[in-house]
């Protein structure tokens, strides 16, 4: 990717299309932070492509003044893989809603991740189908009331971070719509990662699922219900950073430092571990029983899809000339 340093501002990335989300929608904040981040990277607008599917989240490409392609429901990772194959020099972002990504799009998402296609994938998770007007989503927590679960949903939700880890993803992170600094930091890390950068963003759907992430956004509550993962650091949280995560056998436990519990007992985060076991364990923590993690779960270096293709190209026999293919192995000439 060519990254000449350019002086750009967020507004350089605003398209002419009128933004059409509901007042109070969490997508506004994501959009604005994303434009901010793009401006800071210094990648020229013409070298950036946004690809999406269908949903409120998937409208995002229309609002960013780069190249943009809104495809069919759930297919964005495949579309984006095509863009990237056509031109590996582009910075390609994929924007998916939770419905889009975890229902129709799950296969495509999984395969983009396992191939480590150099895509930046934002899964904007409001735990509900927004644009189709309020049905339960594969990520809806048990008990979510929606048009298709008026008495509360009963199905076990998928956890996108767990799924991404099982899909062999090399970069997996989570952030939240209102924490603009954290979002910026994560966007930057994802952009700098070579390979698939998968980011789940908790996003508030004001209309159909308002407040599900309050524990992660309310200034008072969140200190006790959110863990900010930091590589190589013990997993601490709480206003006084005296709550921590400890392992009891394979079961995680919330403990309070002091009274016999010291820093030595505490789990240390390792986003670069050879195996994603800890990352997976952390992806399983959900409130109210546990605090939930924001930050980078996993960040390892593996060859990108393009690098693998290029390496394979070098292997085996060299390519044959067009004329030789045209004639095939058994041509004959008549006088």
């Amino acid at each position: 990717m060519s990254i000449p340093v350019l002086a750009m501002t967020a507004s350089d990335f605003s398209s002419a299309q009128e933004v059409r989300w509901c007042p109070g929608c969490g997508d506004y904040s994501i959009l604005s932070q994303l434009k901010q981040a793009l401006a800071s990277f210094g990648v020229r607008r013409e070298n950036i492509v946004f690809v999406s599917g269908v949903g409120c989240a998937s409208r995002l490409p229309h609002y960013i003044n780069t190249f943009g392609f809104q495809g069919s429901y759930g297919r964005a990772p495949a579309l984006a893989t095509g863009v990237k194959l056509a031109n590996p020099n582009l910075q390609v972002w994929v924007v998916m809603g939770d419905g889009d990504a975890c229902s129709a799009g799950l296969t495509h998402l999984t395969h983009a991740l396992r191939r480590n296609v150099d895509l930046k994938i934002l899964l904007i998770n409001n735990e509900v189908f927004g644009l189709s007007r309020g049905q339960q989503s594969p990520t809806s927590r048990v008990g979510t009331c929606s048009k298709t679960s008026p008495d509360g949903s009963v199905e076990t939700p998928l956890r996108p971070v767990s799924i991404a880890l099982a899909a062999e993803a090399t970069f997996v992170a989570r952030t939240v719509d209102v924490d603009v600094n954290h979002m910026s930091e994560i966007f930057e890390k994802a952009a700098m990662h070579r390979g698939s950068g998968f980011v789940e963003i908790y996003q508030n759907c004001k209309i159909f699922n308002d407040g599900v992430f309050e524990y992660a956004t309310d200034a008072v509550i969140k200190t006790d219900s959110i863990i900010h993962l930091e590589h190589g650091r013990p997993i601490l949280f709480g206003k006084d950073r005296n709550h921590a995560l400890r392992l009891n056998g394979f079961e995680p436990e919330v403990v309070t430092l002091g009274q016999g519990i010291t820093m030595d007992d505490i789990l240390i985060h390792d986003e670069r571990a050879a195996e994603p076991t800890l990352a997976f364990l952390l992806s399983r923590l959900v409130g109210p029983q546990f605090p939930e993690c924001l930050g980078v779960f996993r960040n390892v270096r593996k060859p990108t899809h393009q690098q693998l293709l290029d390496a394979a190209f070098q292997q085996g026999d060299p390519p044959r000339a067009f004329e030789s293919l045209l004639a095939g192995d058994e041509s004959w000439t008549l006088a």
């Binding site: 398209s15 002419a16 299309q17 020229r44 607008r45 013409e46 070298n47 950036i48 492509v49 946004f50 690809v51 999406s52 269908v54 490409p61 229309h62 960013i64 003044n65 780069t66 190249f67 943009g68 392609f69 809104q70 495809g71 069919s72 297919r75 495949a78 579309l79 984006a80 893989t81 095509g82 863009v83 990237k84 194959l85 056509a86 031109n87 020099n89 582009l90 296969t107 495509h108 999984t110 395969h111 293709l309 190209f313 085996g316 390519p319 044959r320 067009f322 004329e323 293919l325 045209l326 004639a327 095939g328 058994e330 041509s331 004959w332 000439t333 008549l334 006088a335």
Partner: protein
């Protein structure tokens, strides 16, 4: 190695001169490990190298690996060779080589009454009959008496022929193919030298194998001479033009066509194909041929394949995908997206017998209407059809040309039969290939990009990422004319629907005139498309040879139909449309021209015989 192995002592036994014939059809059949494909291929080259026209088709075993001698393991290779142009692998067999009872059972019905049947009598033992479901020796069956049966103890004779070379048993068995080959060559008086040369080149590291194969061949040849008089015939007439030739099947022709189109347009290509027989052949070829300007990917499913091709088109590449009948509907949504976003991609749809899984992977043409109408909304796209194996080369280039000059998805219809059938093809020189001018747009600071403005073909600009000033957003929603902004305006929608339709229709204006074979007006016009073109042409030729007033055309442009088609159709009393479906092109022609065309339909998972079409024409013309 003694040079003498390259010659053969001819006519040691008096057997008369070979009967000269215009054409012949030979089928070699047996188990997968009977080397049927090898024998057939060698035989084909022997014919082609003397300049005969040749056309071949394999009939692979129903199962991947069946028990030895089982019906499910029978595989065959058919070769039609002639001193005049031919367009099918032949109807009835002049020679059936049945290397085991299952092969006999499977194919005896196709043998011409005057045909020869060659069997390996060593394999006609009770155990082997049983595997074919016979309860008695079929060679003793009265039904076989109608044919001239050559029951040759091939296994035994082959063993004897190679006995003095030091071989392991599997090697000995493998030489059997060359015994069969020698025998067959003699029957049709084919020159053995090229095969001797092939043996030498192939086994050049192992003189023992060279000797053994050559001996087996010669033993077959000489044994043939002992079989009695009146058996030998030959197709002496040369048909192929001078120059470089190769055998090419439909899959290879298509793949080479795409390669040529990429080269001639200067565009990189992305090929995304999910494995599904026989479309997988394209994937296998591109994988094998790895080329600098082609990225090949095996995606997670047919939906992904289409979307990757479309994403690649957005990204500025030639996006190509292929699937078969079971995957066409899965790709429909992506084609609709390509049609409304107006991006060039090519989808090859290989028709097999449906519906659903149907009879994998028998041939059929029953996805034409789906190609026309199987997408949501008013959504015309370009539909082309490959009409012979080698025609794939031309069709692939034409598909790319239309896609990148008109900014539209293009569907190329082909079928199982065309993919696997082969014919001799005059290899073009790479310098004589047509240029394909892609319409990729350059930024112009004076005139900001209007991504949905139009050129003379009504095509929009192809504004690819990476070029400053061309940034724009597109996708599946209706677009405002010129700007491409999302629009819900009723009048705009109506205008855009009409415009997209006109863009496709306009292509008809610039097509070359239809080639009418035969009288320019008259009694019967046969209209064929796709794989039926070959049998139709040969049937029409036969009718014309018999003095009938019959013309024929083959359509390769189906959507839009050529502008001059209606004029041609109206010049004949009757229009006959033979199709391997229940009458799909017929429906389109009837709706389009209100013309009472006559349908000839066959839905058996098998191509038309020339004779079936000929018979229908004669029936149409009535007793004369």
């Amino acid at each position: 190695m003694p040079g003498t192995t390259l010659t053969i002592a001819r006519s040691t036994i008096p057997h008369g001169t070979p009967v000269e014939r215009a054409a012949a059809v030979v089928r070699f059949a047996g188990d997968a490990n009977d080397g049927v494909l090898l024998v057939g291929t060698q035989f084909t080259y022997a014919c082609a190298m003397v300049g005969n026209a040749v056309m071949t088709v394999p009939d692979p075993a129903a199962e991947i690996r069946a028990p030895a001698g089982a019906l499910a393991g029978v595989t065959a290779f058919q070769c039609h060779f002639a001193g005049h142009a031919i367009h099918t692998p032949g109807d009835r067999l002049d020679l059936l080589v049945a290397l085991n009872p299952s092969a006999l059972r499977t194919y005896i019905g196709d043998l011409s009454p005057a045909g020869l049947l060659l069997v390996d009598s060593d394999r006609f033992v009770p155990d082997e009959w049983a595997k074919a479901g016979y309860v008695a020796d079929p060679l003793q069956d009265a039904a076989l008496q109608a044919f001239r049966v050559l029951a040759v103890p091939i296994r035994q004779l082959n063993r004897e022929a190679v006995a003095r070379v030091n071989l392991i048993p599997t090697e000995i068995e493998r030489c059997k193919s060359f015994f069969v080959l020698g025998l067959s060559y003699w029957l049709f008086d084919r020159p053995p030298e090229p095969t001797f040369r092939w043996i030498r080149e192939t086994y050049n590291k192992n003189p023992g194998l060279v000797e053994a194969h050559t001996r087996a061949f010669k033993a077959g040849w000489h044994h043939a001479e002992t079989l009695g008089p009146g058996l030998q015939s030959r197709v002496g007439q040369r048909c192929l033009k001078s120059g470089k030739h190769r055998m090419i099947n439909g899959a290879t022709a298509l793949a080479l066509g795409f390669l040529a189109a990429a080269r001639q347009s200067g565009l990189p290509m992305v090929y995304a194909g999910f494995p599904v027989a026989p479309a997988s052949e394209l994937l296998h070829l591109f994988t094998e041929w790895k080329q600098e300007n082609i990225q090949v990917i095996q995606p997670e499913d047919d939906l992904a394949a289409a979307n990757i091709a479309l994403g690649a088109a957005f990204g500025g590449s030639l996006g190509v995908t292929a699937t078969t009948s079971t995957g066409i509907a899965l790709q429909a949504d992506t084609l609709a997206l390509a049609a409304i976003s107006e991006l060039p991609m090519v989808a090859v749809h290989v028709q097999r017998a449906g519906p659903s899984l149907g009879m994998p992977t028998r041939t059929e043409q029953a996805d034409l209407l789906q190609a026309f109408y199987g997408r949501n909304g008013e959504c015309p796209v370009v539909v082309l059809a490959q009409s012979s194996p080698s025609d794939g080369f031309r069709i692939a280039i034409e598909a790319v040309r239309l896609a990148v000059t008109r900014m539209t998805p293009v569907v190329v219809l082909t079928d199982t039969y065309l993919m696997s059938a082969s014919e001799a093809w005059h290899v073009p020189s790479s310098s004589e290939l047509p240029m394909v001018l892609a319409k990729q747009t350059k930024a112009d600071p004076e005139h900001p990009l209007l991504p949905y403005s139009r050129d003379e073909h009504l095509a929009r600009p192809w504004a690819i990422p990476g070029r400053a000033g061309l940034e724009h957003r597109t996708g599946g929603m209706e677009k405002e004319a010129n700007t491409g902004a999302v629009s819900y305006d009723p009048a705009n929608h109506e205008a855009m629907v009409a415009l997209r339709a006109r863009k496709i229709a306009k292509i008809a204006e610039k097509l070359p005139p239809l080639v009418v074979h035969g009288p320019k007006s008259g009694d019967v016009l046969i209209v064929a498309w796709g794989s039926v073109c070959g049998a139709t042409h040969d049937a029409a030729e036969r009718c014309r040879a018999a003095g009938l007033n019959v013309a024929n055309i083959g359509l390769t442009h189906l959507s839009p139909l050529p502008a001059d088609l209606v004029g041609v159709l109206r010049k004949y009393r009757r229009v006959l449309v033979p199709e391997l479906n229940a009458g799909q092109l017929s429906k389109i022609l009837r709706a389009e021209y209100l013309l009472d065309v006559v349908s000839l339909n066959k839905v058996q998972g098998q191509p038309f015989l020339v004779s079936e079409i000929e018979a229908k024409v004669r029936q149409l013309l009535g007793p004369c």
